[in-house]
């Protein structure tokens, strides 16, 4: 008779929550004036959702043992289709629906190339990242689109307004998306299929899971949520610009890996990604308000990513 144990199922979730709290305390001590007021938190809540939403989808992709390097361009394309349609038709509903469809189509195509053609996802999506960025550049002739009037519409309030004048609407959208993704990942057969596919696709197949369909669905979902993010950025900023989404590459991967999602597939945490995105989102503000130069931010990101992934690896080894 031997004893079975699973080493700290919640250890990593606890550790990352603690890290966030410690960071908040440190920043508050360094610049109490900033971190004891609401406005810095309103700023966080308005910017973090834009990369947290793609990071949620990326979590599923990584668990599925796939990589989507194309997503910054998907954000730009979704945003562009939305912005162009709105400036040409004035119909917000139509622009949003078609923008979301465009993003989903880009994601689906990535999935098709990876699954049906068989190109490794990291290579395929680096290719499509350049391709779609090139396409939007050609379509917009390198110029930004001005959407100033959008701030007067009712839907602006739905997507980027301020609830009670203080809580950014996009934070609520991100929160809702996070809950849906948590349910999908932990409670739904789709999340189960994603886990098994990423854990061991041969086993998944033997268990009757449609591995190919699952992988394509993961890419499509990625495209859909990227477009959602791109559209919300446009509505918040009142403009679309050709390099939209580019800055999110590092932020999204950092959020996912800090959150404890395994780089080897099969395991991940939606909660972790949410906290990871929050940590990534407050680092820059914390550093600047502490009086350090903005150049420290990247150094800090780098340290956090390597430390957290090392930490999880050690944890996983001890589990064995």
């Amino acid at each position: 008779m031997h004893k079975l144990s699973s080493f700290g199922k919640y250890t990593s979730q606890f550790a990352i929550s603690l890290l966030l709290i410690l960071m908040l305390i440190a920043f508050t001590l360094a610049s109490p004036a900033t971190f004891l007021g609401w406005s810095i938190y309103e700023a966080f809540l308005s910017t973090i959702p834009f990369f947290a939403i793609p990071a949620l989808a990326m979590t599923l992709a990584i668990v599925c043992k796939e990589m989507d390097m194309c997503f910054p361009s998907t954000i730009a394309l979704g945003g562009f289709v939305f912005a162009w349609l709105w400036t040409h038709t004035g119909s917000l509903g139509l622009s949003i629906v078609v923008g979301l469809l465009a993003g989903t189509a880009v994601g689906w195509l990535n999935g098709f190339i990876v699954v049906r053609v068989g190109v490794p996802s990291i290579i395929a999506t680096i290719g499509t990242q350049f391709f779609w960025r090139g396409v939007v550049m050609l379509l917009c002739a390198g110029l930004a689109l001005d959407l100033t009037g959008i701030r007067e519409t009712a839907l602006h309030h739905v997507f980027a307004g301020r609830l009670f004048g203080v809580v950014p609407a996009q934070a609520l959208w991100a929160f809702g998306t996070a809950i849906l993704m948590w349910l999908m990942f932990n409670r739904h057969v789709f999340g189960d299929a994603v886990r098994f596919t990423g854990d061991n696709s041969e086993t998944a197949l033997k268990m009757g899971i449609d591995v190919d369909r699952t992988r394509i669905a993961v890419f499509s979902l990625m495209g859909f949520l990227c477009a959602l993010s791109g559209i919300m950025v446009c509505i918040e900023m009142g403009s679309w610009w050709p390099t939209q989404g580019e800055g999110y590459l590092l932020l999204v991967f950092a959020s996912v890996f800090i959150g404890g999602t395994s780089a080897f597939g099969g395991q991940g945490s939606i909660y972790g990604t949410c906290i990871g995105a929050t940590i990534i989102g407050i680092v820059e503000a914390g550093i600047i308000s502490a009086g350090l130069s903005g150049f420290w931010t990247r150094t800090f990101y780098g340290v956090i990513i390597v430390t957290s992934v090392s930490f999880y690896n050690i944890l996983a080894k001890r589990q064995k």
Binding site: M1, L4, L205, G208, Q319
Partner: protein, 254 residues
């Protein structure tokens, strides 16, 4: 009478390697078939075709007289037909929990596809305690498969097959990694399959084990079925001699 399963001229090659060549046989609806043969004889390839891992290059098979369309046949389809396979390896996803492994591909869900987790965990515990009689402390359906020993993993895969009351259980060398006591348990399972009126294809290197539980034996050699013997027509020694004579033919210099 139509047999439960009929295979006709099944062939399969991997590149230049001819793994199966025109394999044909019938399996009855309450028959325990022992599939024996040297390493590389094509046993695993054969059962992978039956369980939907890949289609044959040519040939056909049918269940209850109904021909299987290999274009639409898959592991999911095989399971729907009531064929449950415990593969030689990779029958379980190691990082996933026990309950997820038991129900993967056929979760109990509501109409929206959300899993009834509490129910599945309770059923998993039943399998662990009642069917495979695990005795480890702290058994929890949330544990990942990676904490189980080799024997316990095999037990879980077999317990899963028992739980779903499949019509045909295929076991590909299930006892290789097992202790004596665990092996006894597996042989007990096969007896239970027989008693429940179901069928089984049992692959093993250990002729004594196969002889103990099977009704009939197929000897395979280099992709072909070279002997089809009923238990009542042979003895353990007779079967062993037969297998040895097949193996010896493989080494003409000896």
């Amino acid at each position: 009478m139509t047999p439960f399963l009929r295979l006709e001229n099944i062939s399969k090659s991997f590149g230049a390697v001819r793994s199966l060549h025109e394999v044909s046989f019938d399996l009855g609806s309450n028959e325990i078939l022992g599939l024996i043969g040297d390493n590389g004889a094509g046993k695993s390839t054969l059962i992978k075709i039956l369980s939907g891992v890949f289609p044959p290059d040519s040939g056909a098979f049918s269940f209850d007289g109904k021909k299987v369309n290999s274009r639409y046949y898959s592991c999911a389809q095989a399971r729907k037909f009531g064929i449950e396979t415990v593969h030689q390896d990779r029958s379980l996803a190691e990082k996933q929990s026990l309950w997820r492994n038991v129900f993967a591909g056929r979760h109990i869900t509501n109409s929206l596809g959300f899993i009834r987790i509490d129910l599945e965990k309770a059923e998993t515990l039943k399998i662990l305690y009642d069917i495979i009689e695990l005795t480890a402390d702290g058994l929890d359906p949330d544990l990942p498969v990676s904490v189980l020993s080799g024997g316990e993993r095999q037990g879980l895969a077999i317990g899963r097959a028992m739980y779903f009351q499949s019509r045909l259980v295929i076991l590909d060398e299930p006892t290789t990694a097992l202790s004596l006591r665990e092996t006894e348990k597996v042989l007990g399972f096969i007896q239970k399959i027989k008693d429940a009126g179901k069928s089984c294809i049992f692959i093993s290197h250990n002729i004594a084990q196969v002889f103990a539980v099977a009704d009939r034996f197929l000897i395979m050699d280099r992709g072909m079925v070279v002997a089809d013997i009923l238990k009542k027509d042979t003895s353990l020694i007779g079967l062993t001699d037969r297998l040895l004579s097949v193996c010896q033919k493989e080494i003409p210099h000896a």
